[in-house]
């Protein structure tokens, strides 16, 4: 009876995941007005072509809702509504942030007309805008079409994971406001920086004091990858509940039912956020316009070098935004670790406890999401720590190129509650933090050496004393 019950139970649990597995990912797009739908159609088309279900709404639509009955309705959110003062429906600042905190993804574009609400969302994610709300990024060095506020920048982040393997040749055209990053925040990355001679100021007013945001400190486009550490809700938990109680170092990205189950993984995983200071960045106009970076050759000219004609027919915007959206929607750089195993050398069962100086084997499988399937992740820099307050063993894991990472080492001669820790934080990739407690005990009383060579003199001494005493007793007693 209990068998049947548990089967039914199991099926009930699995049902939602099985049904959800192959449905397209739903993205909610909030707009200021529907004209944006056509003016930015190229961007939306590229998303649609990649099997995203796009759901367009006005940001003030009174029927807006992100979640229903505690379940989120969307996997991603695109906020192309910089001017909105107050969202319609049940949406507000906290619900958007909650959406992000649940591990879902957000693309946020602002411009010089951005409202406090939208800026606040961005600030909560770790970026700071210029205090002067009218300020835009101005660059007298590298601009396009004679407009000093239309910047052409090619100062990209150096990461294949975020921007794709294919190099972006043409500069990206940008028109909007810049922001700075909180230096203590390691989650935020500058993807597109302004040139060293750019600054942020209000073009309407006269510049009375030096601008607060200048040079390459200005970030034009940033991405955030949060480190998720919230405890999963019970309803979401079951299959993947990852033991999140090993201190705070949780296993974040382990264990999925189905390799295709994108949603689940995402729910467990790091949220990705894109913050762009320009909405026009995504527009058809800038996608199509050619670019000649006016300032790019200025320096060389001044140095008397021949002018280099870097004129491109199309700007890099399309490639840039598309590749970024791939990253933000977890099509790249998305890792999962499964099948953490450890055992004594020569055994296969996982022991509940090791002894000091045991030899053990540890292995973990790491896969990367390719957009359609889980592919083995190949790298030579995954390390394991055998950790108790500080790492006692630190080893680089060997890989078989098929996703399996393994190593073996000797347990140190110290007892205590250790942890197998894999802390893999690589730029652009999902952070993997695997921790697993394992106690290490000292020798049992019968595991020590029975006879020590060094002690033989003592054995000899005691036995000879005994023999001597025996002989003495006999002589003393009977020799009279």
């Amino acid at each position: 009876m209990s068998n049947h019950l548990s089967i039914i139970f199991l099926i009930l649990i699995l049902l939602p995941f099985l049904t959800q597995s192959f449905s397209p990912k739903k993205v909610l797009i909030l707009l200021d007005d529907f004209s944006l739908k056509s003016s930015h159609s190229l961007y939306f088309t590229s998303l649609k072509n990649r099997n995203y279900h796009l759901d367009f709404h006005l940001a003030t639509d009174s029927n807006l809702k992100l979640s229903q009955h505690g379940e989120y309705l969307y996997d991603g959110l695109i906020l192309f509504s910089p001017t909105v003062q107050k969202f319609g429906g049940s949406l507000d600042l906290n619900s958007v942030l909650g959406f992000v905190d649940s591990g879902r993804n957000l693309i946020l574009a602002v411009d010089e007309s951005a409202s406090d609400l939208v800026k606040e969302i961005a600030t909560e994610c770790g970026v700071d805008f210029d205090e002067d709300s009218g300020a835009v990024v101005i660059d007298h060095g590298s601009f396009a079409d004679g407009d000093h506020m239309l910047i052409a920048s090619d100062d990209f982040i150096d990461s294949d994971v975020i921007l794709g393997k294919e190099k972006i040749e043409a500069p990206v055209l940008f028109k909007g406001i810049g922001h700075a990053l909180n230096p203590v925040n390691s989650q935020v990355l500058k993807v597109l920086s302004a040139s060293p001679w750019a600054y942020s100021a209000n073009p309407e007013s006269k510049l009375s004091s030096p601008p607060s945001l200048t040079g390459s400190r200005i970030s034009l486009v940033s991405v955030v990858q949060t480190t998720l550490s919230r405890v999963a809700k019970a309803s979401e938990t079951l299959c993947l509940v990852l033991p999140d109680n090993i201190g705070f170092r949780r296993i974040k990205a382990i264990a999925l039912f189905s390799p295709d189950d994108f949603k689940i993984l995402q729910a467990r995983n790091n949220a990705r956020i894109l913050i762009s200071g320009s909405l026009d960045l995504f527009s058809n106009r800038l996608f199509k316009s050619g670019v000649q970076k006016a300032g790019s050759s200025t320096n060389e000219e001044l140095m008397g070098k021949p002018t280099f004609d870097d004129r491109y027919l199309r700007s890099g915007n399309e490639q840039f935004t598309t590749e970024l959206s791939r990253w933000v929607f977890n099509e790249r750089g998305h890792l999962k670790a499964v099948n953490v195993r450890h055992n004594k050398v020569g055994e296969t069962v996982e022991p509940s406890m090791y002894r000091i100086t045991d030899d053990l084997e540890y292995s973990v499988e790491i896969y990367e999401w390719s957009g359609t399937s889980w592919e083995p992740y190949v790298s030579d820099d995954v390390q394991i720590q055998f950790y108790m307050m500080s790492p006692y063993v630190l080893k680089t894991l060997a890989t078989d190129k098929k996703g399996l990472y393994y190593t073996s080492f000797k347990v140190p001669d110290v007892y205590g509650v250790f942890q197998f820790k894999v802390e893999y934080h690589k730029l652009g990739y999902t952070s993997l933090s695997l921790a697993k407690q394992i106690p290490v005990r000292p020798f049992r009383h019968n595991e020590y050496e029975r006879f020590l060579t060094a002690a033989f003199p003592y054995y000899g001494a005691s036995f000879s004393t005994m023999a001597g005493f025996f002989v003495f007793s006999i002589i003393y007693l009977y020799n009279k």
């Binding site: 992000v100 700071d128 989650q187 550490s229 919230r230 090993i246 407690q437 394992i438 000292p442």
Partner: protein
């Protein structure tokens, strides 16, 4: 002639009968003493419930459970990963196993007799059982010293001495419960060996010593007291072969056996606490040799030999002492453990080891506590000492030495009052029985004379006696003791001791003359006896009161009487129960086990994956293995592991000062720093004991200064003066900002103002200094009914890190107003 012979025979017969009757009577009395000792300790069970008390007993209980479940080898090798996270503790090697093994074998024995008692029941009643046995051991010891009467008196006194009751009420399942018995029994066997010179008793003595070493760290008292006594005997010229037999086997066998106990191990030969015994061991051999040589050499030759040996011996001794001193001096603590050092130098602990000084039972006692714990015995002890000197035998000199040293030690540490108690009982037993001896004999001598006719001699005698009152007593005692001495030297027989009971007519003429001298006036005797009985009655009343009121509270359940009746505070168990029931771990565990079960049953799982089975197993083992970590001050460590089954950072076995100091530092740090410390230790929950609402004085705020001291001892950035305002420890508005911002303060007083609107602390009798504040890194998860235990959870680190947020100021404003609003809304404490 024939008539005389038959009379003699008759006398012999009646004597025999009387001895038999006396034996049966004393056996019966002993039985009653046992019943008394057991039943006076049951108040805690009757008034509260059959439950383990206090802190350490919970650990012992947990260890006993482990022992009964897993057997002795697993117990010996037990590595406990539930305490001292992440260091763990090797329980088998760091615990005195005597108590556990005793209770464990008791349980096993009862179960094999098909008496299915739970381990807890056995543990609860171990201490009362052993106090009955300890009373019998006291009888034996005192009997060896001063005879049966003194023995019985001492036993009955010990059966209900409050000092011992405080450590051995039902439920107080601690080492001392069996250790006091072991202590007394070891002393008895030592005296027995000393009196008989039997190697059999010497071997038993070593075994009893072994049991004591197994049971309690206080065994060092034995291994120092006995050498002291041996030395005393040698110095006073009382060396005999009996002394040698009593001592030498004890040192050899005892040290070997002691080294077998894992927790002692090589300490038995390495630490200074044991050196005295070895030194005396050498000395007694030298002395034995000297006596032997003296026996075979002529007087003149002996003198020559003495000068030779002394000069050579001095050189050797000096060399050895030099080596010893060098060895000892090279070790940082001079070879003494902190606790022992604080025994020798009472100010040592408070100067150097706050962790020892922080325990209330390691403080010097106050005078009232002597009266509380040994009551009238304190007044009887001097009389006992005097009677021990009349005459001074080996045995009586031992008990004198015992009382003197234990008085000193009890003056250093309140806890060692427990060692004083048996000594005081023995002394008082001797004093009382001697006094009764004298008085009853006086009455006996005079009653017949009074009854027959008023002889003029009686008046004479009485008047004469009043003059030489004191002398007679002394002479009497002297003579009596002389007899004792004789018995000691021959075989111990009860012949001489029963003399006082013989009818006056049958006493020989010689003894009659002697007796006549020792008789006190009748009235004086009667009054004195009445007074003594009154004194005894006072003692009994006090003991019963102490047993029922003062010492029977289990300290995990508290009660208080007020005008509206009895209040029961069961907050500790409430909190521990909450902890053990409200963790995700256990939920997960149950669900995953069911899933795991169906996987194991071979039901195919229809998912294309990298092996759900392996995933399950991984998670399952994780769910079982990982545990919610609870941080609290170390006092509550044992209870948390035993009652809530949760891993703790530190517990009452204070073996790692640094670890405790880390927790102390966290408690005295501001919230953020504390959060970081706790997070680095993987702590999930923080437990705080708070008595401010109900006036429970031993809460964490009162212990807080010790946390600061202990923390500051290792981490110098914590400074005690920062927490004191002009040297005063206060929590009101005058308190220092460091104090008001410390984690302990915040966790104790969080939301406290909501209870009465003012935040009046009933322990400190003042209004708290900081009333409205928010916790940023901790969240309250549970507070017990009377607010005595408060549990906080560490907030997870933030998902997102904000930008530097220009609008933070306006934000704060809004949030603070929001908080004020919400503070109004929060429901009142249900207790009010």
């Amino acid at each position: 002639m024939a008539a005389a012979a038959s009379a003699l025979e008759n006398e012999k017969d009646s004597k025999k009968l009387r001895y038999a009757f006396g034996n049966v009577l004393s056996l019966f009395i002993l039985l009653l003493i046992g019943v008394l000792a057991f039943s006076i300790r049951l108040f805690s069970v009757i008034k509260y419930e059959s439950v383990i008390h206090e802190f350490d007993p919970y650990f012992n209980y947990r260890v006993t459970q482990f022992l009964t479940k897993n057997g002795i080898y697993d117990f010996w090798n037990w590595f406990d990963d539930r305490t001292w996270y992440p260091l763990g503790r090797v329980i088998g090697g760091t615990v005195y196993p005597g108590l556990t093994l005793t209770a464990g074998s008791l349980w096993w024995f009862l179960n094999s007799l098909n008496i299915p008692l739970s381990v807890e029941t056995v543990c609860v009643f171990t201490a009362p059982i052993f106090s009955a046995i300890a009373a019998w051991a006291t009888y034996l010891l005192t009997k060896e010293v001063k005879g049966t009467g003194a023995g019985l008196t001492a036993a009955v006194l010990l059966a209900m001495v409050p000092s011992y009751i405080s450590r051995s009420v039902a439920g107080s399942y601690d080492n001392e419960a069996v250790a006091i018995f072991a202590l007394i029994f070891t002393f008895y066997l030592y005296i027995k060996t000393l009196n008989t010179g039997s190697l059999f008793y010497a071997t038993l003595n070593a075994l009893a010593y072994f049991y004591m070493v197994c049971s309690w760290g206080g065994y060092t008292f034995i291994i120092n007291l006995i050498p002291m006594h041996v030395l005393l005997c040698i110095v006073t010229g009382r060396y005999s072969s009996r002394l040698y037999i009593a001592y030498a086997p004890l040192v050899v066998l005892g040290t070997l056996l002691a080294a077998l106990v894992p927790v002692v191990g090589f300490n038995a030969v390495m630490t200074s606490e044991h050196f005295a015994s070895f030194l005396v061991f050498i000395i007694i051999h030298v002395v034995a040799l000297v006596y032997y040589i003296k026996g075979i050499l002529s007087q003149k030759m002996f003198k020559v030999a003495v000068t030779l040996v002394v000069s050579v011996g001095m050189v050797v001794c000096l060399a050895m002492v030099a080596v010893l001193v060098a060895l000892v001096a090279s070790s940082p603590t001079k070879g003494w453990s902190g606790r022992s050092l604080s025994l020798l130098d009472p100010t040592y602990a408070s100067k150097y080891i706050p962790i020892i000084a922080s325990v209330s039972e390691h403080q010097p006692p106050t005078w009232p506590s002597y009266f509380m714990d040994i009551n009238v015995l304190a007044f009887l002890v001097p009389a006992g000492i005097i009677s021990c000197f009349l005459p001074l035998s080996d045995a009586s000199s031992f008990v004198v030495l015992y009382i003197v040293t234990s008085v000193y030690f009890s003056g250093v540490m309140v806890r060692l009052m427990l060692v004083l108690a048996p000594a005081a009982c023995i002394m008082s037993g001797i004093a009382l029985s001697e006094a009764f001896d004298v008085f009853t004999r006086s009455i006996k001598c005079q009653l017949p004379e009074l009854l027959s006719d008023s002889q003029p001699g009686a008046g004479d005698m009485a008047s004469g006696n009043t003059v030489v009152h004191n002398d007679t007593v002394k002479v009497d005692k002297h003579s009596n003791a002389e007899k004792n001495d004789e018995t000691v030297k021959e075989r111990p027989s009860k012949k001489n001791r029963k003399k006082e009971k013989e009818p006056v007519e049958k006493v020989s003429i010689k003894s009659r003359i002697e007796k006549r001298l020792l008789v006190l006036p009748l009235e004086t005797s009667i009054i004195a006896i009445v007074l003594l009985i009154l004194l005894g009655a006072f003692y009994v009343v006090h003991c019963v009161w102490a047993a029922s009121e003062a010492y029977s509270a289990p300290s995990i359940v508290l009660t208080s009487h007020s005008h509206d009746g009895l209040h029961v505070f069961d907050d500790f168990r409430e909190a521990y129960a909450w902890l053990s029931h409200n963790t995700d771990v256990d939920d997960k565990e149950s669900i995953l086990t069911s899933l795991n079960a169906c996987v194991l049953m071979g039901i195919p799982i229809l998912i294309n994956t990298h092996g759900p089975l392996s995933v399950f197993t991984v998670q399952h083992s994780l769910a079982v293995k990982t545990n919610k970590l609870v941080a609290s001050w170390w006092d509550y460590g044992y209870q948390t592991t035993a009652m809530a089954n949760r891993t703790v950072i530190v517990d009452n076995n204070t073996w790692n000062n640094t670890h405790i100091a880390t927790v102390g530092t966290a408690m005295s740090s501001p919230e953020k720093a504390a959060w970081e410390i706790f997070n680095s230790l993987d702590v999930k929950y923080v437990l705080v004991v708070f008595g401010g609402l109900v006036g429970y004085p031993s809460d964490d705020i009162n212990k807080f200064l010790w946390m600061v001291r202990i923390g500051g001892g290792v981490f110098p950035h914590i400074k005690e003066p920062d927490y004191l305002r002009d040297g005063q420890y206060r929590i009101d508005s005058q308190a220092t900002p460091t104090m008001l911002n410390s984690l302990m303060y915040k966790l104790s007083y969080y939301r406290f103002v909501e209870t009465d609107g003012k935040g009046f602390d009933r322990v400190r009798r003042t209004e708290i200094g900081k009333k409205y504040f928010k916790l940023t890194h901790f969240e309250e998860v549970f507070t017990t009914h009377h607010w005595m235990v408060r549990l906080y959870k560490l907030k997870s680190p933030k998902n997102r890190i904000r930008g530097k947020a220009k609008k933070s100021k306006s934000n704060q404003k809004t949030s603070s107003t929001a908080r004020l609003k919400s503070a109004d809304k929060i429901k009142k404490n249900p207790w009010h």
